[in-house]
């Protein structure tokens, strides 16, 4: 059962008030009490710069403070506010309502993540798989001597992995991955992209260790190259490309 409320009607008019409003449909689900999710609907005023996160926070502030949503930086840096917006995994703080080109905005929790409540999901699996691929430089001489300087890299060496270092662990790629939906043990595009990030780093000496970790029955070979992970990444990381490069190492095409 949908409930429609209008924040625009409740607020006093002011010179900056928006002329447009959008119907915001928020998925509500508490696994402790509910068997399935239901949608609550709110009419929310917006301007051309209003983001979906701001609209959700408007709802929390003015109508229903019990809506559960995770957010922090509001500038696509922390990776907290990933959710399905009109069916596509996006960051709520990075998605303007005006860019959606729709009178209805539906927000749901990300796929392939257990729901804590409403729009907030558990990240344990993502963090576990991220940790599994050893996301740090591995080398024998990690501790620098007093007369040594930091490990230098050429711009070309940096270029090999820099886009993969932009990952903010928001989980959108894992949410979009079709293999993650059926294979609960799959390591996932986020962790695989980070495995490539360190394998391609000239300062790192842990290539063989990481390749061994991802070369298992639920590892890199379960990727079917749908490419949806790369399409949804808000930071321009291309996990699908990283996965193909890693396969190149495992098949002997790269060294």
């Amino acid at each position: 059962m949908a409930q429609v409320s209008s924040i625009a009607d409740e607020q006093a008019p002011n010179p900056l008030s928006a002329s447009k409003s959008v119907l915001l449909r928020i998925s509500r689900f508490n696994p402790e009490f509910d068997e399935s999710n239901k949608f609550m609907e709110f009419s929310v005023p917006y301007q051309k710069w209003t983001t979906v996160l701001e609209a959700i926070l408007d709802v929390k502030k003015h109508f229903d403070h019990s809506v559960a949503v995770r957010y922090s930086c509001r500038q696509a840096t922390c990776g907290s506010c990933g959710m399905l917006i009109n069916g596509k995994p996006r960051l709520a703080c990075f998605t303007k309502i005006s860019e959606l080109d729709s009178d209805v905005v539906t927000v749901e929790p990300m796929n392939n993540f257990p729901v804590i409540r409403d729009l907030a999901v558990k990240f344990e699996r993502l963090f576990d798989t991220h940790q599994k691929i050893k996301p740090y430089l591995i080398r024998d001489d990690t501790e620098l001597e007093s007369d040594q300087r930091e490990f230098l890299q050429s711009p070309q060496e940096l270029e090999n992995f820099i886009q993969f270092a932009n990952c903010i662990k928001c989980g959108l790629c894992n949410s979009a991955c079709p293999t993650m939906t059926t294979d609960s043990s799959f390591v996932g595009p986020q962790a695989l992209a980070q495995a490539y990030r360190y394998v391609a780093d000239s300062r790192d000496k842990g290539k063989d260790t990481r390749l061994d970790i991802i070369d298992e029955s639920h590892g890199i070979w379960r990727c079917h190259f749908a490419g949806s992970c790369s399409q949804v990444c808000p930071k321009g990381v291309d996990p699908a490309m990283g996965i193909q490069f890693l396969r190149g190492y495992l098949l002997g095409f790269r060294s």
Partner: protein, 114 residues
């Protein structure tokens, strides 16, 4: 066995199968389609040792590729230690049984026992 080794075999058997099946189809085209499938002609094919070797290779390649593909599909469908072991060993056993039965047919036909 490492998954990368298994997948190398998987890709290799796919490529080799395409080549050999193409040769197989081309050889079927040396006669008319109906003649090619007549009982006597089919039996006669098994008297040529090179052709029999090729059929045996196709059988092995397709069995290895097919059952590994089935294993991958089943592993993605459901997870669990017991289930995964059952799927992996089950596919290997099924592959060996199919190759054994097919080889038996090829050998018996070659020896004129059919």
């Amino acid at each position: 066995m490492k998954e990368s080794t298994i997948m190398k075999i998987h890709y290799g058997t796919a490529l080799a199968s395409v080549g050999l099946v193409a040769v197989h189809i081309l050889m079927r085209l040396t006669t008319g389609f109906a003649d090619s499938l007549s009982y006597e002609n089919v039996l006669a094919n098994y008297q040529s040792i090179p052709y029999v070797v090729m059929l045996e290779l196709i059988l092995i390649l397709l069995a290895v590729h097919g059952f590994n593909g089935l294993r991958v599909i089943l592993l993605e469908l459901k997870q669990g230690r017991v289930y995964e072991k059952a799927v992996s060993y089950g596919c290997v056993v099924a592959m060996i049984v199919l190759i054994g039965y097919g080889s038996r047919t090829i050998i018996m036909t070659n020896m004129g026992m059919v």
